[in-house]
C-alpha cells in the first residue's frame, strides 16, 4: 500500500475504532447503541435547522484546526489555540461594542482585530522559542490560562460594570445573516463559514505556492539544513506562530461576531482550541483533510445534543469517541504496522 493511501486509510481506521469502542461502551452501559446513532444522525442532519447548526459549529473548528496544523507543518505544536481564540474573541467584541462605523469598515476591523490579538498571543511563545529555546508546548499552555483570567478580568471591569457579560456588538460588526438564518429554519448559521473556507485556501496557497511557505515547511522538516541553506530559523518560527495565532484569533471572531455577539465570563475553556488539535491530527494537517475532520467533529458535537433527548444516552459519549479517535490517530504506529501486515500477506 502506498504512503499516500496509508495517510487516508489510517484516519479512517482511527474513526472506525473510535466508533466501535464507543458502541461497546454504550452496550456495556445498557444503552441502545443503534437508537443512539440514529439520534446522533438526526441531531446533525435530520432537519435543516440542525444542519445549519452543524455548519456553524464547523466554522471555528476549521479555523482552530488550521491554526494547529499550520504550526505543525513548521514543526511547532501550538497547544495554545484555546488562549489565542479567547483573546481573539475578546478583541472582536471590544471593537464590536466600542465603535460605530459603516459595516464595510467595522466588520473587517473587528475580524482583523481578532486575528491581530491571536497573533500577538502566539507571538510570545514564538519569540521565546526562537530566542530562548523554550518549548512552545508549555508556554502556550500557560498562556491559555493567562488569556482566560485576563479576558474575564477585562470583561468584568473594562467592557462592563461588574457584569458577567458585555453588551451586544453593533449590527455593523456582526457576521449574522438573516438570509442564512432563514435558509436554515433560524439556526445561528452566519457568514463566518466563508471566512473559514477562504482561510483554508490561504493556508494551502501560503504553504504550497509561495517561497515563504517553502521556507516554513523546510524549517519544520530540518532546522539545521534550513539554517545551512541560509534561512533564518528563528524568524520562521516566530512567523509560523504568528500566522497560526491569527487563524486561532479568527476562530474567536467567529464566536464573537457570528454565534454569540458578545463575550461572557468563562469558568473554563471553550474546548474549541483542543478540538482543533483533534481536527488537525485527523485531517493530516492538510487543507482538505481539515475540512472533512472539522465536518466530522462538528456534526458529532451538534448531533450529540440530540442523544439524551431521543435515545437517553448522555452526550458525553461523543466526547469519549472524539478522545478515542485522537488517541488512535496518535498511536497510528499500531495501525500502520497492522496495515503493513495485511498488505504483505498478499505478496507472500
Amino acid at each position: 500500500m502506498s504512503n499516500r493511501m496509508k495517510n487516508i486509510v489510517v484516519p479512517l481506521v482511527a474513526v472506525l475504532l473510535g466508533i466501535i469502542v464507543g458502541t461497546i461502551i454504550m452496550i456495556a452501559a445498557g444503552y441502545n447503541a443503534g437508537a443512539a446513532f440514529i439520534a446522533l444522525w438526526n441531531g446533525a442532519f435530520g432537519e435543516i435547522y440542525y444542519t445549519g447548526e452543524v455548519i456553524r459549529q464547523v466554522t471555528p473548528l476549521i479555523l482552530a484546526g488550521l491554526a494547529v496544523a499550520f504550526a505543525f507543518r513548521t514543526g511547532l505544536f501550538n497547544i495554545g489555540v484555546e488562549g489565542q481564540l479567547i483573546v481573539g474573541w475578546l478583541a472582536a467584541v471590544w471593537v464590536g461594542v466600542a465603535f460605530e462605523l459603516p459595516k464595510f469598515i467595522h466588520l473587517p476591523l473587528a475580524v482583523l482585530a481578532a486575528a491581530a490579538a491571536g497573533a500577538l498571543w502566539a507571538f510570545i511563545p514564538g519569540l521565546l522559542k526562537a530566542k530562548f529555546k523554550v518549548h512552545e508546548v508549555i508556554v502556550t499552555i500557560m498562556m491559555n490560562y493567562v488569556a482566560l483570567h485576563v479576558s474575564n478580568y477585562i470583561i468584568r471591569t473594562v467592557l462592563s460594570e461588574k457584569s458577567d457579560r458585555t453588551e451586544m456588538i453593533a449590527d455593523s460588526a456582526s457576521l449574522r445573516s438573516p438570509f442564512l438564518e432563514g435558509l436554515t429554519d433560524y439556526s445561528r448559521l452566519h457568514w463566518g463559514i466563508l471566512i473559514a473556507l477562504a482561510c483554508v485556501f490561504i493556508m494551502w496557497f501560503l504553504l504550497e505556492k509561495t517561497s515563504k511557505g517553502y521556507e516554513l515547511r523546510a524549517v519544520g522538516f530540518n532546522q539545521h539544513a534550513s539554517e545551512y541553506a541560509g534561512m533564518s530559523v528563528s524568524k520562521n518560527i516566530i512567523l509560523s506562530m504568528v500566522i497560526s495565532g491569527a487563524f486561532a484569533g479568527l476562530a474567536g471572531a467567529m464566536e464573537a461576531l457570528g454565534t454569540f455577539g458578545y463575550a461572557a465570563i468563562k469558568g473554563g475553556f471553550t474546548g474549541v482550541g483542543f478540538d482543533g488539535i483533534a481536527v488537525a491530527l485527523l485531517g493530516g494537517n492538510g487543507p482538505i483533510g481539515i475540512i472533512f475532520a472539522a465536518l466530522l467533529f462538528g456534526s458529532l458535537k451538534v448531533g450529540a445534543l440530540n442523544m439524551p433527548l431521543e435515545a437517553g444516552v448522555p452526550n458525553e459519549l461523543v466526547d469519549i469517541i472524539i478522545a478515542l479517535i485522537v488517541f488512535f490517530v496518535a498511536a497510528s504506529y499500531m495501525i500502520r504496522i497492522f496495515i503493513d501486515r495485511i498488505s504483505k500477506k498478499g505478496v507472500k
Binding site: 497547544i79 508549555i138 499552555i141 493567562v146 483570567h149 478580568y153 473554563g268 458525553e316 466526547d319
Partner: protein, 319 residues
C-alpha cells in the same frame, strides 16, 4: 487585622490548596524524569476526583470515618489504570506524547461525566458526607506559635503530601531505582547499554504519575470541592505541570513550587478579606503561577531544563 491573624488565615489555606498540586506535580516528576512527557495530568486528576467522590458516596456507610482515605486508594488505582493508556501509546506505540496526553485529558472528562450521568442520572454528583475535615494535629498543635500557625485547623492530607515529596526525593536521588529512572530519561541508549530495561522503567514512571495524579484529584475533590461536576478540576493538572517545571524537575523543588502556587491560589480566593490586598485585582494572583513558570523557563528565574530525552520515544538500535 494583625499579622498573626492574617497568617492564621493564609497558612492553612495555602496548605489546603497546595496538597493536590504537590501530589500531582510529583506524579509528573516521575513520568518526565523517565522521559515521558505527561500533559495528561489534568485528565488523571479528573478521573481521580471522580473515582474518589463516587467511591466516597457509595461506601461511606461501610468505611465510616476512614472513607476518604480508602477513596484515595481507589482514586490512586484508577488513575494508574488510566495512565496505562498513555504509557502504551507513548512508549510502545511511539505516539506523540503531547497528543496522547491531550487524548487522555479529553477522554477523562468525557468518561467521568458520562459515568456520572449513567450512575446518578444528572450532571453533578451529590455532596459527600465525609470529606477530609479540618483537624488540630495532636501534640504538634500544642507547640507555642508554630503549633497554632502550622498544625491547627489544617488537614492531614497536606502533611501527607509533604511527606510523599521527601519520599519521592529519596527514591529518585538515593536509590538505584531512582538513578535508573533518571538515566532512562536523560540518555536511554546509555541506560539500555548498561542493561536497564528502558521500556519497563518508563512504564513504571508513567504508572506512578497516574497513581499520584489520581491521589491529587482525590484530595482536591474530598477536601476542596466535595462533589464532582464538569468544572471540579479546572486547570489544577496544568498548574501541577507548571509546578513541575518551576520546581525544575526535582521533587523538593516541585513541592516548593506547589506550595507557592497554592499560596497564590488561596490568596486569589481569600485576598478580598485581607486588608493589604483589597485593592489589588485578583487577576494578578490568578495568573501569577503561569507567568512565573514562563519566566522560569525563559531563564529569568534560574534556568529550568527538562530531562534530555523527555518527549522522544526510545527505539532500540536507532542512533
Amino acid at each position: 487585622m494583625g499579622l498573626m491573624e492574617i497568617l492564621l488565615i493564609i497558612i492553612p489555606s495555602t496548605l489546603l490548596w497546595a496538597a493536590p498540586l504537590i501530589f500531582t506535580g510529583l506524579g509528573g516528576n516521575f513520568s518526565e524524569s523517565s522521559g515521558v512527557v505527561n500533559i495528561g495530568l489534568e485528565g488523571l486528576m479528573v478521573i481521580g476526583a471522580f473515582t474518589a467522590i463516587v467511591f466516597n458516596l457509595t461506601f461511606v456507610d461501610v468505611f465510616g470515618s476512614m472513607t476518604p482515605w480508602v477513596a484515595l486508594l481507589a482514586a490512586m488505582v484508577v488513575g494508574a489504570l488510566l495512565s496505562i493508556l498513555h504509557a502504551v501509546a507513548s512508549i510502545t506505540f511511539r505516539a506523540d506524547q503531547v497528543v496522547s496526553g491531550v487524548a487522555i485529558n479529553l477522554l477523562a472528562i468525557g468518561a467521568a461525566l458520562f459515568l456520572v450521568k449513567f450512575i446518578y442520572g444528572k450532571g453533578q454528583t451529590d455532596i459527600i458526607q465525609k470529606g477530609f475535615s479540618k483537624v488540630d494535629i495532636p501534640f504538634l498543635s500544642d507547640i507555642p506559635v508554630i503549633g497554632k500557625l502550622f498544625f491547627s485547623n489544617t488537614y492531614y492530607t497536606s502533611f501527607a503530601a509533604i511527606a510523599v515529596a521527601f519520599l519521592a526525593w529519596f527514591v529518585m536521588f538515593k536509590t538505584p531505582f531512582g538513578l535508573r529512572l533518571r538515566a532512562v530519561g536523560e540518555h536511554p541508549m546509555a541506560a539500555d547499554t548498561m542493561g536497564i530495561n528502558v521500556t519497563r522503567m518508563r512504564y513504571i514512571g508513567v504508572l506512578i504519575s497516574g497513581a499520584l495524579a489520581g491521589i491529587g484529584g482525590g484530595v482536591y475533590a474530598q477536601s476542596i470541592s466535595s462533589d464532582f461536576g464538569h468544572a471540579t478540576i479546572s486547570g489544577q493538572g496544568f498548574m501541577a505541570l507548571a509546578a513541575l517545571i518551576f520546581g525544575k524537575w526535582h521533587p523538593l523543588g516541585v513541592m516548593g513550587a506547589a506550595l507557592f502556587f497554592g499560596f497564590a491560589q488561596s490568596l486569589s480566593i481569600i485576598g478580598s478579606s485581607l486588608p493589604f490586598l483589597e485593592n489589588i485585582p485578583n487577576v494578578y494572583l490568578l495568573i501569577a503561577p503561569y507567568v512565573l513558570t514562563i519566566l522560569a523557563l525563559t531563564g529569568f528565574i534560574g534556568r529550568a531544563d527538562a530531562p534530555k530525552a523527555a518527549g522522544t520515544p526510545y527505539i532500540k538500535g536507532k542512533r
